[in-house]
Structure formats: C-alpha cells, structure tokens
C-alpha cells in the first residue's frame, strides 16, 4: 500500500502530464504483481466497491475521536477522507499493514456487513498517507488528474510499446493484468485478443492551420464534411456488438436502437448523430444538444429513443468480418466501405458523402458556406493513408469552419448570484501551455441551458479539488467549447490574453481534457 499511496500523493501535486507519466511509469517499474495491476485498474477504469461509502467512514471515525476536535479538524482540512486519514488514532503494530492487492481482493469478496471491521483493522495498521489512499480508493474518487489514456501511456513506456497497442488489447484483459505486465517486460507473449468485440484505437486528425492551407497538395486528398456529433466505433464480432467512444469507453448501453440495427460482422468508424425530419423530404442532423440528451446514460427510456433517434454516419471501415483492412490505403478502403454498405444496407446508418472539389479555392468556399446542418467544417484525408492509431501529423486534417471556437478546460467554478446562488455557474477555463500546464484564459457564465447548468453544477461538486470561499477548483476533466468574438492581449491574465465576450458554446462531456486546445492556438488568433 505504501508505494501506491506515495504515487497518488505525488500525482495530486504534479500538474504536468509528463511529470505524471514519469511517476506512474516509475511505479509500474518497481511495484510487484498483482499490486500494480490493481493500481492500473484503479487509475484507468476505476474500481467500484459496494458498501464503503463516506457515511460509513464518518461513523467509524466518530466512534474513536472527540466530536469537537473532529469538527474543528474537518473545518480546517476541508476533505473528509483526508481528515479521517490524519486524525485516525492509530495503533501501530496492532495489525499487519495490508498490500494494495489484499485490500482490493478482500473488499471484492466481502459482504456489506464485513466492510466496517476490515476497514477499521486496516486504518489501524496503515500510516496517514496510506490511510488517505485507502479511503480515496474505496470511495471511488481518486481525483488525481489521471485519465485512463494517461495510465496506459505510462504503461506503454514500460516496454517501449505504443499506447495504441495497449489500447487495442485493453478490452480483452482483466485486472490485475499480469500477462500484460509480463509481455511489456519481455517475460511473456503478447496477450491474444481472440474473437472478441474489442475496441481498436481510432485514427485522429490534426487541425489544419491557416498557414498550411496554401501549400497543401489538395489533389492528394479526399474531402468529407466534419459532422457535429461524436466520433464513435461500432464493433460487431463473434456474436457481440459494442459501441465505443473514441477514448474506448463502452457507451452501447445508451444506444440500444443503434445496436439493434446491426446484423453484420464489422468494425466501423463513424459519427454518432441524432436525426430529425428536415424542412423538405428526408432527414437532417439535429442540433448537438439533441444528441446530448442521449449521452452519458447507462440506460435510456423509450421516450428518448423516440424523440432523439440515434444514427451512425460512416466514415471508414477497419474490419470487414474478421478481415483487417487497416493496412489498405484510404481509396480502396473507401471502396470496401461502399461495398459493405451496398451489401448490408444497415438501418440507422448511412455513408458520409465525399465532397467534390477541383481547387483549394473551391474547398475554401465550401467551408465558408457550411454554416448549418450539423457541419463543423471539413475533413481532409490523404488518399493513400493507411488507418493508423493515434494522431499522426499529415495524413488527416480537420479544417473547422469557425476559427473563434476554442476547446478549454474548466479550472474554477464560482457560485452565481440571485437565483443561481446555489449553483456553481461562473466558470474560469484554461488552455494548455507548452509545458502542459493549464493557465486561465477567460471566464464565462452563460451559453448553457438550465438543465446543463444542473449537470455542470453537479460535475463541479463531484470533481472539486480545493475550495476557497465561493470558488471551487476542479480537476482538469471537463472540456468547454468556448465561443468568443475576438482575443486581445491583456496583462490581467497569466496567459497574457483576454477573450472578448466568451460564452460556453458547447459542453464537451465526451472530450478528454488533455485534448483540449493549447495556448498557442489562442495566441494565433490575436488580431493586430
């Protein structure tokens, strides 16, 4: 438990992504099996223990401490797990300190009634930082600013593999991942995926900078609309069908309508959209807000299915049956996608059409004209590009239509005024510096619906790292797409920039924080 506690403790204070990576990799290198496998599970997908809720912990500590001293201490420290960890009147030597694996394995087997006694024994035997880590672990809120992707990237560093390779294996593996560690350390074979409906890492596009436009050899590229939904992967294999977000989270539970439409074996890349009746014939893409209603749910009601029907607009095909097409260039892959579509004619799906163009000027005009109908801009993909995991620079570009949108990361939230005084409704957001630190770039307090405000408020409360009076600092985990009229230089902000009329354009519940925009992108928009 000691090494894991020391790792969490250190991660809490380390803002830079690179620093976090090094610390996690160092832990994986030195910690034994199966401890490190459980640590990996805790850092990536989270471990869920029943029966270990904050109320129980509070009850345990109240039995052992003076209530007055506990109250003063809690007021001072401001965090329950930390207060309990520090104030717990230990009995060193009373019991043997448990390993991380022992904690996890015992809790997984324990009945609800056995949890308090186990916990009490462990708290007696551990030292304060370990107690804190134990309490964070079992109440399911590590809050150390580590995404699943970051944990896997650190893991990859162990054997000089690519994170994408691990991503690809991930859904076929179970904690504590001993075969995975064995392979990474060169002690075992690569784990087999077999015939499971596993997630395959996506190929992502880089933004096309204005400065690159002129020099782009456009005749080497295919153009497609960039649809305003969320990027997903639909996998059907070995009789199993799953829908993944682009970070590999299984979101199929919220989209039974789409899963039911699958009667084939394939792995497809596409944009998840909600369609509605258009003004004329046929259907059009509904606003992103409609899709929001379907996201982040474990299950879905019949009414939502009817109001906001899911649709998949296909971009690419990775597997046809069990045939891996990822090594093919884009053009023949597109032919295979079209052939697949002709053959299967799947319901709730269509092909993302190619955009015809003969010059860069024509393409520019198309991009400018694309103001509505769920189009965010254009995608440019090299005709000869194989389907590569990650975000290689060059083969695929995204060329967004409105340059004054920036994906920022929520940093602080402040209570509002008047009828909003019970909500954290004023948001300070930041962008990443070249050193991978967040610096505030602006503040916004409108641009969202009341429903969204409720959800934002809950998110803020669930992800608070610090409190200062009416302000809460939150972990860097929520991306706000901020719209603004202009950006100017300013000495008021550490970033040196100030946005004019910023508003929350969209809440990117789906987007990982480390993929938010960088300060350079904002600097590039400064006028004059």
């Amino acid at each position: 438990m000691r090494a894991f506690a020391a790792l969490l403790d250190r991660l809490v204070y380390t803002p830079q992504r690179n620093g976090k990576l090094r610390l996690i990799a160092d832990y994986f290198r030195h910690a034994p099996d199966p401890d490190r496998g459980w640590a990996l599970a805790a850092l990536s997908d989270g471990l869920d223990f029943k029966g270990a809720k904050p109320a129980l912990i509070r009850a345990l500590v109240e039995e052992r401490t003076d209530p007055v001293l506990f109250r003063w201490s809690y007021d001072y420290v401001g965090d329950l797990a930390e207060t309990v960890a520090l104030i717990w009147p230990e009995r060193p030597g009373a019991n043997r300190p448990p390993s991380l694996a022992e904690v996890v394995e015992r809790l997984r087997e324990a009945g609800r009634g056995e949890v308090p006694a186990l916990l009490e024994r462990w708290l007696d035997a551990l030292e304060p930082t370990e107690r804190w880590a134990l309490l964070k672990l079992i109440t399911g809120g590590l809050r150390v600013g580590v995404s699943a992707r970051l944990a896997k990237t650190a893991l990859a560093a162990l054997g000089e593999h690519d994170a994408a390779e691990i991503e690809e294996l991930w859904h076929g593996l179970e904690p504590p991942y001993e075969p995975l560690f064995a392979w990474l350390e060169g002690r075992g074979d690569k784990p087999e995926l077999g015939d499971s409906a596993a997630f395959r890492p996506l190929m992502l596009a880089t933004p096309l900078e204005e400065s690159e436009v002129e020099a782009l050899p456009f005749e080497d590229y295919l153009a497609e609309w960039k649809w305003d939904g969320i990027r997903v992967q639909l996998v059907s294999r070995g009789g199993e069908t799953r829908l993944f977000s682009r970070t590999g989270d299984d979101i199929g539970g919220a989209f039974p309508d789409l899963l039911d439409a699958v009667g084939f074996e394939a792995t497809l890349d596409g944009e998840l959209l909600v369609l509605r009746h258009g003004p004329g014939e046929g259907e059009e893409v509904a606003p992103f807000n409609d899709l929001q209603q379907r996201l982040n749910r474990k299950t879905v009601t019949g009414k939502l299915l009817e109001l906001y029907p899911a649709h998949l607009r296909l971009y690419d095909i990775l597997f046809d049956g069990t045939e891996d097409l990822r090594g093919l260039p884009l053009l023949p892959r597109r032919e295979r996608l079209e052939a697949f579509y002709e053959r299967e004619r799947p319901a709730r799906m269509d092909l993302s059409p190619l955009v015809d163009f003969r010059s860069m000027d024509e393409l520019k005009a198309l991009r400018e004209a694309a103001r509505d109908n769920g189009i965010e801009g254009l995608m440019l993909k090299r005709k000869d590009s194989a389907y590569l995991a990650g975000r290689p620079k060059g083969p695929w570009y995204k060329w967004k239509r409105d340059p004054l949108l920036l994906d920022c990361v929520l940093m602080y939230a402040q209570r509002g005024h008047g009828k909003r005084s019970s909500f954290y409704s004023d948001y300070t957001f930041g962008a990443w510096t070249p050193e991978d630190e967040l610096v505030p770039v602006g503040k916004a307090y409108f641009g969202f619906t009341d429903e969204e405000l409720k959800r934002l408020d809950k998110w803020v409360r669930d992800h608070t790292t610090e409190r200062f009076g009416p302000v809460r600092a939150v972990e860097p985990g929520l991306v706000l797409e901020v719209a603004f009229d202009a950006v100017q230089r300013s000495t008021r902000h550490k970033s040196g920039l100030a946005m004019r009329f910023p508003r929350v354009h969209r809440i990117r519940w789906d987007k990982p924080a480390h993929e938010a925009d960088r300060l350079e992108s904002l600097q590039a928009l400064v006028e004059g």
Binding site: V12, P15, L23, D66, L69, V77, E127, T428, F468, H493
Partner: protein, 370 residues
C-alpha cells in the same frame, strides 16, 4: 515591625500572581523582565533566534550563546546593548527570580526559560519539538507548576511523519526526474541546516546549492560546530549545469522569478504545514515535505504528560483545540493569546494564485521555522 512569614511555610504563590501578559509580551513581575517580548524592553530573556521571538532593540538580552550569536548575525549592533550568555543549566538571578535555560530541541541554541520565584516554577518553552534534530540537543522535560506551551500544530490532524521518509521522498524524486533541479523552500534559521544534515545522513554527498539569504546562517552553524558538507551558491552555475541539482531557498523565492534561473525546477517545501493538501496546493508546491521544527499534536500532548504541570498556558497557534483537549484530560488549561508570536519569521509572502478567489480560512500564518 512585622516579621515576614518564613517562605518555606507559605504556599508558593500562584504563577498568575507574578507573570502577566502585557502588550510587550510575558512580563515576569518580580524580576521585571520579559520573555520573548515583541516590542523593545529594558530586559529580555530570549528563548531562540526566530524573528518572532528574538526581536531587535532591547537594552539587555539574556539567551544561550548560540542564540546571541544568531541575533548578532541578524541584527548587528541592534541585537541588544547588553548581552549576557547563559549556557543550558546555568543559573542567574534577576531581581527576585532565578532563571535557567533548558534545551527545547527547536533550532540551534533554542531554550526553555525556567523561572523560579518563592518555590513556584514556571517553564516558558518558546517553540519546541520532541523528535531528533541533528543540529541541536533534544528537548528536556522540566517538571513545573505551570507549563507555557506553543500550539502551532495544535490540531489532531497534524501528525508529522518520520523525517527519514520525507528525505527519501526528495531523493526518490531526484531519481525519477534526474534532468530537473529540485528547489526546496526552507526557513533560513534551523530548517535549512537541519535538512542539509538529514540529507547528508541519507547519503547525499554532492554539493547542495543555497540561496544567498541562507548563506550567513549556514556559515554560522558551521562556526558553531554543525558540519554541513559542501555548499555552493545557487547562482554561480549556468542553467544547464543545474540539472539534477538540489537547491535550498527561502519559501518566498521558490515560486518566484528567482527560481527561473534553475533547470525546470521541481518545487518542494519543507514544513509541517505541508501535511494538509489544500495548503500545499495553494502554494503551488509539487513536492511537499512534512518536516517541522514544531511539536505535532501527539508531541504536544506527550509533553504535557511528561512535564506533569497541573496547569498549562498556551501562547500561540491553535490554542483552542489544545486547551479543549488538555481540559478534557484533567489539566487546568487556558489560552494566553500572546500577540506577535507565531507571526511570520521572515515576512514570507506568496504570490496569490490566479483565479483562486479568497481563501476560506484565516489565521495559522507562516510561523517561524514551522
């Protein structure tokens, strides 16, 4: 003519009758002197060299030789006109009061002032800690009628871990980030030298780089017999050469422009306050080291038991909680709330974090050497 009753047959006077809290600090009436006065007075007994206890401008100063040397290094001519050195255990009489000094284990030269008058004994402990410190002799419990204590870390959440573990944290970080320098915020008096000694004990033999503000006191410690090993000025080398370097600086410098000359520094801070995450994070500290020169909660309570005084007066810190707990345990306890103690040692100030709004709690400032 009325004969005075023989002193031996009288009950000793209650300390409340002969020790008062005045705006200058603790006034010992039958000797007409003050202990750690916060304003210039005629006669002062000084427990140790931290700036909130040892202030300049008194007429006569009584302290350990080490404390006098520290004051002379800090204040020069202003360290006090008449200076009297008193070694641990030696006795002097001031007015009607017998005074002697006992080690407090806080910093080099730190002492508890033991005051005796007509069979009544009061110990003013100044600042103290109970764990080992390689730069000064350990605290000695002195039985007394009233024990006057600090309560800097007087909340049960303050439980300082083992120093060796904290030093190991720092050395581990130097291993994980060998291309970065590590800058540790330390108070100039006591913490800096203690940390250097702890690092030497842990096997760090390479030079330790020190900020200019720490140099004079490090030199003084060396002169007084505390060997610190090779120290170099932090500003002498090019940035690239500072990769992997271990640098000590005052807390105000570690997050300031001064630190930009270092190679991508990991910002550490050695202080008992680092125990509470919110505090460490507000400071932008990346590597908090819980190393304190003050007693933690358990040490405070253990000390009350060992000195065996029926009555406890708490001068500064979290008085409320310690008084509450001592009362529950059967002591007569009260808070003196001495103004001016526990204020910042070297007027450390930190740049406020951007966008962070107001802080929700006040008080518990940056005590000396905490």
């Amino acid at each position: 003519m009325v004969m005075a009753m023989p002193a031996a047959r009288r009950a000793p006077p209650h300390p409340e009758r002969w020790i008062r809290v005045t705006p200058q600090g603790l006034h010992v009436v039958p000797g007409d002197f003050h202990v750690d006065p916060v304003r210039p007075v005629e006669r002062a007994v000084i427990t140790h060299g931290h700036a909130d206890h040892a202030r300049p401008g008194h007429d006569k100063v009584l302290a350990t030789p080490e404390t006098l040397a520290i004051m002379a290094a800090r204040y020069g001519d202003n360290a006090g006109a008449g200076r009297q050195a008193l070694a641990y255990g030696e006795r002097v009489t001031i007015g009607e009061v017998t005074v002697w000094l006992a080690p407090a284990g806080h910093v080099l030269g730190s002492a508890q002032a033991v005051l005796e008058w007509r069979g009544s004994r009061v110990v003013v402990s100044g600042d103290y800690k109970r764990r080992r410190d390689p730069t000064c002799p350990p605290f000695e419990p002195v039985p007394c009628d009233v024990f006057v204590t600090e309560a800097t870390f007087g909340l049960p959440v303050f439980r300082h871990p083992d120093d060796a573990g904290e030093v190991a944290k720092l050395l581990h970080s130097l291993e994980v980030f060998p291309e970065r320098s590590h800058v540790v915020g330390v108070y100039a008096l006591g913490k800096a030298q203690r940390l250097i000694r702890l690092l030497r004990e842990a096997g760090w033999e390479r030079p330790i780089y020190v900020h200019g503000a720490l140099q004079a006191l490090c030199d003084l410690y060396e002169d007084l017999g505390v060997a610190l090993g090779p120290l170099e000025p932090a500003t002498a080398k090019a940035k690239a050469e500072m990769a992997g370097a271990l640098v000590l600086a005052p807390p105000s410098a570690i997050a300031d422009r001064w630190a930009r000359r270092l190679s991508d520094p990991v910002t550490a801070m050695a202080s008992g306050w680092m125990r509470v995450r919110q505090r460490a994070k507000q400071r932008g500290v990346e590597l908090p080291l819980i190393i304190s020169d003050h007693a933690d909660w358990d040490e405070l309570n253990r000390t009350l038991d060992e000195v065996g005084a029926p009555e406890v007066w708490v001068t500064h810190g979290n008085e409320e909680a310690l008084v509450h707990h001592a009362t529950e345990r059967g002591f007569r306890a009260r808070a003196l709330s001495v103004v001016g103690l526990g204020e910042e040692d070297e007027q450390e100030s930190w740049p406020p974090g951007e966008g962070s709004g107001e802080r929700s709690e006040e008080g518990a400032g940056e005590e000396d050497g905490s």
